[in-house]
């Protein structure tokens, strides 16, 4: 639509909508700005509720407190291990599996598809899953976390649909050239499916980076917990610990500024990756109809 062709009423409408969008955007962004400002403020300023938009009595004390905590670094490292290990594990299961499911020559294809899809509709729930993990001896195990959340039906189906949409002649041409199934998958389908695989990789990375509940339930050892669990511990400990509040506020930080500083530290990697993600997720969410 062309602005010059807009009537006066249309222009007014467009401007009002743009302003509303702007307000919603600012409202979305504001909590992050507030947290960032808080993390750089002094404990006194935070406690007194003076921080609104910019740091008050700017200080790095809160960051100093966090970065000196060895547990912060351990859990940061763990999160990287879970994210990278988990994503690699996911792709190792999903790519070959989805390829096999996408091939019409696979007997029992309908059964296997239903077998996968059924888990999207029916889930045994928290308790049996937990007991199963205990039976498998995967409690408090980093490998257990990486393995037990490697596959989900949605990602399998997403990739299978993409593979199915690749014209059959690509497989046939490769076959006549002497390729076996592994070669067809690795040399033809995987390169042809880069957008879909990128999307799934992103979904895996994001869910691993943010994963919290099961890590909290399944992991006991402090040297195994990921950043999110550490963050949760810190937030709840700080706000419950009155003594901390009294003693540490004098030191230039408070429960609020420390919490804010941890939040900032754990958001930064997301913000760094986000521009790369954005290219894919809009398509990824609509996959099924991906055309390039």
């Amino acid at each position: 639509m062309n602005w010059n062709l807009y009537s006066r009423g249309d222009k007014f409408f467009a401007i009002v909508v743009s302003i509303l969008i702007g307000m919603f955007t600012v409202a979305t962004l504001y909590p992050f700005i507030y947290i960032a400002a808080l993390s750089f403020s002094s404990g006194f300023a935070a406690q007194a509720g003076k921080v609104v938009l910019t740091p008050i009595d700017a200080t790095l004390e809160a960051y100093g407190y966090i970065l000196k905590d060895p547990q912060f670094w351990v859990s940061y490292r763990n999160t990287f291990i879970y994210t990278i290990g988990g994503t690699v594990m996911s792709l190792a299961f999903i790519i070959p599996g989805a390829y096999a499911l996408s091939r019409p020559q696979l007997k029992g294809r309908r059964f296997f598809n239903l077998f996968i899809a059924f888990t999207m509709w029916f889930n045994a729930g928290l308790i049996p899953f937990f007991l199963n993990m205990r039976d498998l001896n995967l409690l408090d195990s980093m490998f257990g976390i990486i393995l037990a959340f490697a596959v989900n039906a949605f990602n399998v189906i997403l990739l299978r649909n993409f593979f199915e949409a690749i014209p059959k002649s690509f497989e046939e041409a490769a076959r006549m050239d002497g390729a076996n199934d592994f070669q067809v998958l690795w040399k033809v389908f995987v390169p042809l499916s880069k957008p879909a695989i990128a999307t799934i990789t992103l979904f895996c990375i994001v869910s691993r980076w943010n994963g919290f509940f099961w890590a909290m339930v399944l992991l006991q050892s402090e040297d195994k917990i990921p950043l999110q669990v550490f963050l949760r511990h810190t937030i709840s400990n700080l706000s419950d610990d009155d003594e901390f509040a009294i003693v540490q506020t004098a030191a230039g930080f408070s429960a609020e500024t420390v919490t804010a500083a941890i939040i900032v530290c754990s958001i930064i990697p997301v913000l760094i990756v986000y521009p790369f993600i954005q290219k894919y997720f809009e398509k990824g969410i609509l996959l099924g109809g991906v055309k390039e």
Binding site: P167, S169, F170, A173, R175, M176, D177
Partner: protein
Amino acid sequence: MSGVVLNKIVKKYGALQVVHGIDLKIDPKEFVVLVGPSGCGKSTTLRMIAGLESITAGTLAVDDRVMNKVAPKDRDVAMVFQNYALYPHLNVADNIAFGLKIRKVPKAEIRQSVQEVAEILGLTDYLARRPSDLSGGQRQRVAMGRAIVRHPKVFLFDEPLSNLDAKLRTQMRAEIKRLHKRLGVTSIYVTHDQVEAMTLADRIVVMNEGRIEQIGTPMELFNNPANRFVAGFIGSPPMNQLHGFLEADDAGPVAQIGRLKVRLPKSEVLENQNGKPVVLGIRPEHVTVDEVPGSFPIRINLDLVETLGSEALLHTDLDGMTFVARVETLGEISHLSGVDTLHVKPDLLKLFDAETGRSLSVDARTGT
């Protein structure tokens, strides 16, 4: 018997039978075109030869070796696909080399083979490009290069030109023909386009509804179609098919087509068949506006003149039946507007049994 031999080949999908026992012998170095309307089983037949579809019954042999259960890669055949199936993530050189790499051919050898093929196809300057940066014709050449580089016993072409525009199609057609002359590899080519079939083939196999209607050289099919289907399929515009019945007078058999009586050559087949419903086939090319020696006149009502340039198509009405003539214009069409009589050469007429569709012409029967 060397070459490709199909013996009573059948293809069924569940209860649906799409190929009904095809017999075909293709000699070494021959260029055979399978042609027919969509759904006639020509592609399925080709894919069975390639090994991409299983053969339900019958045997397929290449150079005396039965291939029914042999994997596609071990059949020593190469295929050019309709959509080319070029790998978009590989450049031209890697696309051509793909099959050799999979087969673990030494690198130096691959490089040399790719070079040779690129020269043959005029792709030398494009080896580093991706398929998406190539024109339709160039992509087509890469697809052929991928087939050629393996030096297979048989080339299979599955409608390779149908994605090109008309001009490029004509050009690539000639190129495929030239390439076949140069390499001399047995080729089986599937198309629905009878012009492609006529121009490319040593022999054409006309298929319909999973059966072979006729096998022959392009001129055999054009001059002596075995039945009404082939007559209607080969040639453009198709042969005029006029319904009538057989009569006889003192001088011999006559086809009664509406008010028109057409004298037929004497033949045993037509004896004592009075009243038999027949179809008279007249090729649009075998009709002239001016009288020529030996021709007989037919009166028509001119409906429409379509100008093609050196020729024109006259759409006419002959006793309620559509009749198309293809006549020379000599650069001028004004004289065509008033035409009410056309002239037909009797020796080029075809006669078909209206019930079975089979040719009743003497030479047609001897021709097949």
